[in-house]
């Protein structure tokens, strides 16, 4: 009875996500217009056959900007998830394998990072090191670390209670090796789910940082800056604010559905 609903979650989520990622990849090679090309003559045109999503106050094609913005969003979110996972997961595994003092030190260090509101600290980092996509990636990535560390540690602790880890120790294997050979592969399902969630949070964070001007700098297109630019024009051209807003909303929704679908799949398996 439940099966169709579960499929629905996963399928719709996967389709939306694939759509946006496909769009980002496509933007690497082709967009309908140059997203940075100004054409004052064509400014503030409502969506029509020539410009499917209209043009902005400088005559740039909104569809092209959305596509190129997707590239920025995906790039920033993906790299920050990679940073978070590649540092956080090993930390969590080490904490779970070592227990005791090392565990305490690592996890309390985690708590310290966690204690700062993520976006606020990202603003701090980009403010200190200068705005830009790379610094945004680092800032968001740093805040993914404790999330992955906690998830990995919690999952690993459960694995460590299972008898097969005892069997591996009797086979002479040490904590590191068991973490790598046994524990980590058994956490993949968990980590995939967390990755999609962090990915969607990364999309939001990137949009937020760009919105306040600390993300990708012009001329690199970004959904957050499109929102900012559209702010003063909402009465004149509401679609300028609606379209990037919808893009963020739809992408995040798709990622959350995908995460939920992955979680359900993992549970059923």
């Amino acid at each position: 009875m439940n099966t169709p609903v579960r499929h629905w979650n996963f399928t719709v989520g996967a389709l939306i996500t694939a759509g946006f990622i496909g769009m980002a990849l496509l933007a690497q090679f082709w967009t309908p217009y140059d997203p940075a090309a100004l054409s004052i003559v064509d400014k503030l045109q409502a969506p029509d056959a020539r410009h499917w999503l209209g043009t902005d106050q400088l005559g740039r094609d909104v569809l092209s900007m959305i596509m190129a913005g997707a590239r920025t969003s995906v790039g920033v979110a993906l790299l920050s998830v990679l940073i978070g996972a590649s540092i956080g997961v090993p930390l969590g595994l080490v904490a779970a394998a070592a227990r005791g003092a090392l565990d305490e030190v690592l996890m309390r260090g985690n708590d310290v990072v966690f204690a700062f509101p993520a976006l606020l600290s990202a603003i701090l980092i980009t403010a200190v090191f200068g705005p830009g996509a790379v610094n945004a990636i680092i800032a968001i990535g740093i805040f993914n670390i404790p999330v992955f560390a906690r998830v990995a540690r919690a999952g690993a602790l459960t694995q460590w209670t299972l008898d097969y880890t005892l069997a591996a120790r009797i086979a002479g294997k040490g904590g590191w090796r068991i973490s790598w050979e046994h524990v980590l592969p058994n956490l993949f399902a968990l980590l995939w789910v967390q990755s999609t969630i962090q990915f969607s949070l990364g999309i939001i964070a990137e949009a937020g940082l760009s919105y306040v001007g600390l993300g990708a700098q012009p001329p690199t297109p970004s959904w957050g800056r499109m929102l900012n630019d559209a702010q003063t024009l909402t009465a004149l051209a509401p679609y300028l604010a609606v379209i990037p807003g919808l893009a963020v909303l739809l992408f995040v929704l798709g990622l959350n559905l995908l995460g939920e679908g992955l979680r359900q799949r993992a549970e059923r398996a």
Partner: protein, 528 residues
């Protein structure tokens, strides 16, 4: 006899077209105890679920279930909800998961009363107190504000029974209620259930795989196999004169004939545990002074000779698992040490430790968690090759894996399959194969047959006896099950609260137990 309390007539259940239960009919009167017994997968738990209409989706049910004269099969879901709990109480196997860990036991019992009996808060509290008293949790032990984690397994199971009984249901269904408990607690819980059935004139449907429990507790028994009832009669009739061959096999397997004479084997000592003390720090309650550590093992010494089977018996919490971990050099003892093949094992390190580890391997209790589910059987069985200085090349590895698999009665082609494709008994064979591959001198078994049903247990024990003979293996069998130990061990150590209180040959310990704890254990073990 007046109309029976519960009458099941021609009950059949199919899930997705596959018949699960076929044409079951039985009756149960007030004050009567009916046992439903069979090997795992025979449909006994499914029967309980069918009675309560708790079957999984897609299940089709036929036949009639009459409780107090009313047909349950035609009740609405809402009516069933009020019947469950109020008219039929249920007690399950796992006492930890049946309770809410964050709610005090008093509140949990009172909640059941309030759900089913529209009682006032005060009255519910009183009913909870009475119910806990009735199951023997009185005074400080059963204080209403205690939380589940503060209770032992047996006490938790008593709380679960109290919850089931608080609203005085006419029928109680108990599904393996004592399987997770040790013998002494099991005896107490069984006596309690029987007394309650008698004194409250309550019908008790007891589902179990353990014929000894059936023999002790039930008035009548129904034996099940593949969803059918093979025979049902007064319990001692069925046990004395089983008509069906499957019943005979179950009884024979449960009886566990001793297969070793307890003859002293004059082998060399292979494992020598001397004066081991293991302490665990207790949680601090005061910041000024550390609490005295918990002494899990107190001056424990034991000896295992080549080719010998040694049993370590004790109830849960007696320190058996700690002992095993010290013996396997997974935990470090505070005092004393373990010598393996005459060498110091507990303080060995590096290459020395790896060499010594080859001589001792282990098999654990739970065949589900003993393996990494992502590994193939070949990888699992070959994992201890890590202990070799030069691991065998892939052809050699393949050959050796095939060899141990056939030794334990599996097929060489099973090597490419995954553990979840095997049954519990087969998995325990895989675990034994893994333990054999380094050709150890000793294998330690941690409750290795407790999770298996009697027929499978019999096969595994036979396999172990064969292997011991052919490879001159010594076994260290750690268990709470005296029945198993009696059948296989040459010598026995009895553990209580971290100490060895008695040891001797199997015959000595069972025929003339010296320590009162040993006598209590033996008395509590259900017998056929």
């Amino acid at each position: 006899m007046s109309a029976p309390l519960l009458e099941v007539a021609a009950l059949s259940v199919a899930i997705g077209g596959t018949p699960i239960l076929r044409d079951l009919s039985f009756k149960l009167g007030g004050g009567e105890v009916l046992g439903l017994v069979g090997a795992s997968g025979c449909g006994k738990s499914m029967t309980a679920l069918a009675l309560m209409r708790l079957l999984p989706r897609g299940a089709a049910m036929q036949g009639a279930v009459r409780l107090c004269g009313e047909d349950l099969t035609i009740k609405s879901d809402a009516q069933m909800r009020s019947i469950r709990g109020r008219t039929v109480g249920m007690v399950f196997q796992e006492p930890m998961t049946a309770l809410n860990p964050l709610m005090s036991i008093g509140a949990q019992v009172a909640e059941t009363v309030r759900l089913h009996g529209a009682a006032s808060r005060k009255a519910a509290q009183r009913a909870a107190r009475d119910a806990l008293d009735a199951v023997g949790l009185s005074g400080e032990q059963g204080a209403l504000d205690r939380l589940p984690f503060e209770l032992s397994g047996g006490q938790r199971q008593r709380v679960a029974i109290a919850m089931a009984l608080a609203v005085a249901p006419p029928l109680l269904i108990a599904d393996e209620p004592t399987t997770a408990l040790d013998v002494i607690t099991q005896a107490q819980v069984l006596t309690l259930l029987k007394d309650l059935a008698r004194s409250r004139h309550m019908g008790l449907l007891l589902i179990t795989h353990d014929l000894a429990v059936v023999a002790q507790l039930t008035d009548r028994v129904a034996v099940m196999q593949s969803g059918r009832i093979l025979e049902q009669d007064v319990t001692h009739e069925v046990l004395r004169h089983p008509r069906h061959s499957h019943t005979q096999a179950l009884i024979a397997a449960a009886a566990l004939e001793p297969r070793r004479g307890g003859a002293a084997l004059p082998g060399q000592p292979v494992l020598c545990v001397s004066h081991v003390v293991k302490e665990y720090p207790r949680r601090r309650r005061s910041i000024f002074k550390a609490p005295p550590p918990l002494r899990a093992l107190d001056d424990v010494s034991l000896l295992v000779h080549a080719g010998e089977t040694v049993g370590v018996v004790g109830e849960s919490g007696s320190g058996k698992s700690s002992l095993l971990k010290v013996i396997l050099a997974l935990h470090r003892a505070e005092q004393g040490g373990v010598a393996l093949l005459g060498e110091n094992f507990s303080d060995a390190g590096g290459a020395r430790l790896r060499t010594l580890r080859r001589a001792i391997q282990a098999v654990f209790q739970d065949p589900r968690s003993s393996f990494d589910g992502r590994w193939t059987v070949a990888d699992i069985v070959a994992e201890p090759f890590f202990l070799m200085d030069t691991p065998p090349d892939s052809a050699e590895r393949h050959r050796k894996v095939a060899h141990v698999l056939s030794q334990v009665g599996l097929m060489p082609q099973d090597a490419t399959r995954f553990p979840h494709e095997f049954s519990g008994g087969q998995r325990q064979r895989i675990a034994i194969a893994r333990a054999l591959i380094t050709q150890p001198a000793v294998i330690a078994f941690d409750e290795a047959v407790s999770a298996l049903d009697v027929l499978v247990r019999e096969q595994i024990l036979q396999l172990l006896a064969q292997l011991a003979q052919s490879a001159n293996l010594a076994y260290l069998f750690v268990t709470h099950d005296l029945h198993v130990i009696r059948a296989i061990a040459d010598r026995i150590y009895v553990m209580q609260r971290g100490r060895i209180v008695e040891h001797g040959t199997t015959a000595q310990v069972f025929d003339s137990p010296q320590h009162e704890y040993t006598r209590a254990l033996i008395a509590a073990t259900p017998r056929l």
